[in-house]
């Protein structure tokens, strides 16, 4: 109760209601992440899928070695003590432990793969928004037209097409090594941006397209539907009655209202993807966090699995936070 009271008194000193809202949400986000750490810990250490000490000891382990490891890492101690050790090192040093498989620190392993995952997610995000915005606006202004129907059909197709299948089709068609129409680099050609920007860009074109396709259709539909709704509202009628240009009516009145829920949704989706895109990274053999997670699962590398889950969770929690704040900023009617 003491800490809650302290937090409350800190909160009450903040003047701006928006800032107070942000601080309060940040505190909740911290709590949420600790909960996620607890759950992953519970799942991987306490459910007897494998003995951590055995895994850590490797293939040619003697019983003495296993026992030594058990003691050294505190694996013989009660659950709550183990959890305390783990969470203390996570919180104070952001220490996620050592990978069993490679015997490397998980934190560094993930951080070194993060740029690749961010490249994939951010590029796909920009691409799908660049497609969805104009297409959505077009379909909203011309309902039931041919373009409207084409978008609906394409959305259905790309949403139904599994990412890995779409990825393989793309590789089969366009990859420079195995493609029928070899145009651009396919799987395994990823180069970091800092090394060679041109090669980086070319290697990511196909993954971006594959990842963006489904989202672009979905977002075009959502933007179109939202805009169609707002264009039928009374305040858009008022805007027209003022005698401003139709272009201004659409952009400054219609889109302003239609896009605010989309922006928050986009923040969530982007946050989700930033934590690693397992399928796309696997199909295109991109050394990102998603790929690392797949390897970790295949090798039963518990600290690595925990680390990737925690990273994903942090991105999602942050995305929710950003989405909530954006929503409050974009819509003055939202009370916080």
């Amino acid at each position: 109760m003491g800490s809650a009271g302290l937090f409350g008194s800190v909160l009450s000193r903040i003047r701006s209601p928006l800032l107070r809202y942000v601080v309060r949400r940040l505190a909740w986000s911290g709590l949420l992440i600790i909960l996620v750490i607890f759950l992953t810990f519970l799942v991987f250490y306490q459910l007897p899928s494998a003995d951590p000490a055995q895994l850590r000891a490797g293939r040619l382990a003697t019983p003495e070695l296993v026992a030594e490891i058990r003691e050294k890492f505190g694996l013989d101690r009660p659950f709550y003590e183990q959890f305390w050790i783990y969470i203390r090192s996570v919180v104070t040093d952001f220490d996620l432990g050592y990978s069993y498989y490679k015997n490397l620190p998980v934190r560094e392993e993930i951080l070194s793969r993060l740029p690749a995952s961010i490249s994939v997610a951010l590029g796909a995000f920009i691409l799908w928004m660049a497609i969805a915005l104009p297409v959505g606006i077009l379909t909203a202004l011309r309902p039931r037209s041919r373009s409207d129907r084409a978008v609906t059909g394409a959305t259905l197709f790309f949403l139904s097409a599994p990412t890995y299948w779409l990825g393989l089709v793309m590789l089969f068609l366009f990859a420079s090594d195995i493609g029928r129409f070899p145009l651009i680099g396919g799987a395994g050609t990823y180069v970091p941006l800092s090394v060679d920007p041109k090669a980086w860009f070319e290697s990511l074109i196909l993954p971006w397209i594959v990842l963006a396709c489904g989202f672009a259709g979905l977002y075009a539909r959502m933007i179109g539907e939202n805009l169609r709704e707002t264009m039928a509202t009374d305040y858009v009628r008022t805007a027209r009655a003022k005698g401003i240009s139709e272009r201004r009516v659409v952009i400054r009145h219609g889109l302003r209202a239609a896009l605010s829920p989309i922006v928050t949704l986009a923040a969530l989706d982007l946050g989700f993807l930033l934590g690693g895109t397992i399928l796309v990274e696997t199909v295109f053999n991109i050394p990102g966090v998603g790929r690392y997670a797949v390897d970790a699962i295949q090798n039963a590398d518990l600290p690595a699995i925990q680390g990737t889950v925690l990273f994903g969770a942090i991105f999602i929690v942050l995305a929710i936070l950003v989405a909530d704040i954006l929503y409050a900023v974009l819509d003055p009617r939202v009370r916080y």
Binding site: T233, D234, Y235, T238, A239
Partner: protein, 331 residues
């Protein structure tokens, strides 16, 4: 020449249920500085009539015929761009629900300034200063701070004042107020009507007051047109329509209003039945299924307006022939 002259206006919408004829052969005229009341139940076509004057009903599924002459220029024949220069500048409009009619995510000052800057090449600061003046002129207290409020932060009456300020921004010659008080509290209704009357007198503009409420109309109109099922059924000076209506529908409307100051002995007489759907109008006079004086002949032809006395016209040949029919049941 009259400021506004509407001739044989027809508006119909193509819907899935078929063609909906919302407005049929409506003709009106309005002199500068005068007030016209447009009365009718919801669905009678009064809002569609007024919105069509501004081209707000234009769409690929709407068919509009007839003429709407503003100073002799047919607005229906103008292109969208030409019509835009009339909207807000020469004809302005105030709508029913100010909360839904103001953009929820824009400050009211922004919305008023936009109306100014839509037609005049003025800077942001100048437009803002003019907006403050406008807000003050419609009776908004401390407009310097209210100008930065969002619509949801104002009361209903204040919001409608903002709408009125916005409509008056460019000094229009004609103001169309479509049910301007229907969404407001009774006490606020009177204030808004007074404000409209004062502004009209100050600025000498013509006013079309659209309402389902005869009390609102009786208050301050020179002329009244009563609409039923997309047609004008009675038209005449305000005091005549309220004092001695002739069309059975107008009569029914007046008899269904409770009088606060009158004797309590009379019972209210609601009009039996309900208004017809515009997609499926009864043949002949659209009111005949609900009319106490209906004859067989009423199912035949659609009655046109005919003069019963100078300046007073009704679309009811039965009553026009025998005015004594209605004198007995006059309110």
């Amino acid at each position: 020449m009259a400021l506004l002259e509407v001739r044989d206006l027809r508006v119909s919408f193509a819907t899935r249920e078929g063609e909906v004829r919302a407005v049929n052969d409506v003709s009106l005229s309005l002199e500068r500085g005068r007030t016209l009341g447009l009365v009718g139940e919801s669905g009678s076509g009064k809002s569609v009539t007024s919105m069509t004057m501004l081209g707000l009903t234009r769409s690929p599924t709407t068919e509009i015929a007839g003429e709407v002459l503003l100073d002799g220029i047919d607005l229906l024949g103008l292109s969208d761009d030409e019509l835009r220069s009339v909207r807000g500048r020469r004809i302005a409009m105030v709508f029913q629900d100010p909360l839904s009619s103001l953009h929820p995510m824009r400050r009211v000052g922004w919305q008023v300034s936009e109306a100014i800057r839509a037609h005049e090449n003025v800077g942001k600061k100048a437009a803002r200063a003019r907006s403050v003046k406008l807000l003050r002129s419609v009776g908004i207290p401390s407009p310097e701070t209210r100008i930065d409020a969002y619509p949801h932060e104002l009361s209903g009456g204040m919001r409608q004042r903002v709408m009125i300020a916005m409509a008056l921004a460019l000094g229009p010659e004609l103001l169309i107020a479509d049910e301007p008080t229907s969404a407001l509290d009774v006490t606020v209704q009177a204030q808004i009507l007074e404000l409209l009357a004062r502004l009209q007198e100050e600025r000498g503009m013509a006013l079309i007051l659209v309402s389902h409420d005869l009390g609102v109309i009786a208050e301050q109109t020179d002329e009244v047109a009563v609409m039923y099922a997309g047609r004008i059924v009675e038209h005449g000076p305000g005091e005549t329509i309220i004092g001695s209506p002739m069309h059975p529908y107008t009569l029914g409307l007046l008899n269904s209003i409770p009088h606060v100051d009158g004797p309590r002995t009379e019972r209210l007489m609601p009009i039996p039945g309900s208004p017809p759907s515009a997609a499926n109008l009864p043949p002949g006079c659209a009111f005949h299924p609900r009319c106490a004086f209906a004859r067989l002949s009423c199912e035949g032809e659609v009655p046109s307006l005919q003069s019963v006395e100078s300046g007073h016209r009704i679309a009811c040949p039965v009553v026009a022939q025998d005015p004594s029919l209605v004198s007995a049941s006059s309110p």
